[in-house]
Symmetry: C2
Subunit: 273 residues, 2 copies
C-alpha cells in the first residue's frame, strides 16, 4: 500500500472511544502505537487540565487538537458574551495541552432566524482572534453536515467556513475538513483548493447506508460511501500534511473494547485513507 | 392573516396521507376542500391509470404533479436505458392525469463515484427532454437534503439543480423547491432568485428538533425551524405562483386519521406558509 498515509499522522479523536476516560485513551494510544490524540473538553474537565497535560506528556503523545469551542449564537448580547468567555477557556486549555488547534463547532440558531445566527458566528470568531493569537492557538472552523444545521451548527459547508476565514483575514483562523460532514458537497474539491494552507485539520470516518442513527451513526473508514483517499489527496495537494484524526461517533463502536477500536481504525486508515 | 397564501393554491402531496389509497385521498380532498393533489406512482399503479384519472376528474381536483421520476444512476449503460424507459412511463402518466409537472428524485450513486452519478443524472434528463416536450410535461428537478445523498439523490442543492436546468437549456426542465431539503443552504435565496421562472413546484413541511427519523421524520408546518413564509415569498418574487404542496413523510402523521391530517395541514398552511 504505497499510497497509504504514514502512520505517523494518525490521531485518535477521543470521541471515537467515548467510553474511555482520558487516562484510558492515552494508555490505549501508547499500547496501540497511535502517536497523536485529539482531546475533548468534557474529558479534560473530569480530571482537570494539569493532570490531563501530565498524562499526555508522560505518555509522549502529541495533541492534534482540542474539541471543541464554538456554539456562538444566542439571542442576547450578554449570552453571546458568556459564550465568548467559554471559548477563551477552551483556547487556554488548547494552549496548555500543547496543541495549536481549537476545533470550532459553531452552534445552532437560537430561533428560526438562521441569518442572524450565522452573523453571530462570524462576529464571535472575530472577537476571539486577539486572544487566540496571544495563546498561539488557531481556530479551526469545522462545517458540520447540513442535517445538523438546526441543532449543532449553522456553518454547513466548507464554502461558508472559507468565507468566514477569508473575511476574518488572519492566519489565526482556518478550517477543519471532516469527510463525514462535507463528502456530499458538489463544491467540495473546489473549496478544498480554496482553503489551501488554511486547512487546520482532517477528520475521517465513513457514511454508511442505512445510517443507524443521525448522531451516533458514523462508520469505520471503508464501510461506507465516502471517497476517502481522493479527499485525503485533495487536502494534501491543498497543502495540509498534518495529523489525520479518526473521529467516529457510533454507539456500537463505543460499546466494544477500546483496543479493538484502535486496531480496527489503524487497519482501516492504512487501507482506505 | 392577510399575508397567508390563498387556499386556492393548496395541494395534498399524497405521501402525506400514505395510509390512504388514491380513492380515499381524492375523497378526503373533496371533503376538506383541498383543491389540488399530487399523485404518487405507486398509488396510481394500485388501481391503474385510467381509473386514477377518472377518480380525480370526477372529483374536480387538479393535479399539481406526479411523484416521481428520476433514479438515473446505474453502473451499466443498459441499466441506465431501462431507467430512462421507466421515466418515459412516468411522463405518460403525468400527461394522462392532466398535470404538466413530473417531479424528479434523481437517485443515489451506484458506487463511491459520486461524480459519475451526477453526470448520469444530467445525461438522463437531457435524453428525456424530447419525449417530455411531446407530452407537454415539464421535468422538475428536486434537490434532496444532503443527508439523502448516499441513498436517494446525488442532487443535493438548488444550485446543482439550477445548473443542470441551465445546461439542458429548455423550458421543459426546471426545479422543485422543497423547504425541508433546502432550508439550511447558505446560497438558498440567491439560488431561488436564479431559478426564477424555472421553479415548477413548491413543497412545504417543517424540520423539527429532535428529528424522530431520518426518513419519516418531517414535521407539520410551524412545528419546526424553517422560515416558511420567507421562503414562500421568495419563490413568489422569483415568479412562482402555482400550487403549494404539503409533503410530510412522518409515521405519526400516517398513523392518524387522514381527515385529521388534512384539517391540520390547512390550518398550518394558513398560519405558517
Amino acid at each position: 500500500m504505497s499510497e497509504a498515509p504514514s502512520i505517523e499522522r494518525l490521531s485518535l479523536n477521543q470521541i471515537t472511544t467515548e467510553s474511555w476516560n482520558l487516562e484510558e485513551a492515552v494508555q490505549g494510544c501508547v499500547r496501540q502505537e497511535v502517536p497523536w490524540i485529539s482531546v475533548w473538553r468534557h474529558k479534560i474537565h473530569e480530571i482537570g487540565l494539569k493532570q490531563s497535560r501530565k498524562l499526555i506528556q508522560d505518555a509522549g503523545l502529541q495533541v492534534s487538537s482540542v474539541c471543541r469551542g464554538g456554539m456562538f449564537p444566542a439571542e442576547s448580547a450578554s449570552e453571546r458574551k458568556e459564550k465568548i468567555e467559554d471559548n477563551r477557556r477552551a483556547i487556554e486549555e488548547a494552549a496548555e495541552l500543547g496543541t495549536d488547534v481549537l476545533v470550532l463547532v459553531c452552534g445552532p440558531p437560537s430561533s428560526r432566524d438562521i441569518d442572524s445566527a450565522r452573523k453571530w458566528v462570524e462576529e464571535g470568531i472575530e472577537e476571539l482572534v486577539p486572544f487566540a493569537e496571544k495563546h498561539g492557538v488557531k481556530l479551526g472552523i469545522e462545517p458540520l453536515h447540513p442535517m445538523y444545521a438546526a441543532d449543532r451548527s449553522v456553518i454547513s459547508t466548507l464554502g461558508q467556513a472559507n468565507t468566514i476565514s477569508e473575511n476574518v483575514n488572519t492566519s489565526q483562523v482556518g478550517v477543519v475538513v471532516d469527510v463525514f460532514h462535507v463528502w456530499w458537497d458538489p463544491e467540495l474539491y473546489k473549496e478544498i483548493q480554496r482553503a489551501g494552507r488554511n486547512i487546520l485539520g482532517f477528520h475521517v470516518s465513513d457514511w454508511v447506508v442505512p445510517m443507524p442513527d443521525m448522531f451516533k451513526g458514523r462508520g469505520m473508514m471503508g464501510d461506507g460511501i465516502i471517497e476517502l483517499r481522493r479527499m485525503r489527496k485533495a487536502v494534501e495537494e491543498a497543502g495540509y500534511h498534518g495529523p489525520i484524526e479518526v473521529e467516529i461517533i457510533n454507539q456500537a463502536i463505543w460499546d466494544q473494547p477500546g483496543d479493538e477500536t484502535l486496531k480496527q481504525m489503524k487497519a482501516s486508515y492504512l487501507e482506505h485513507v
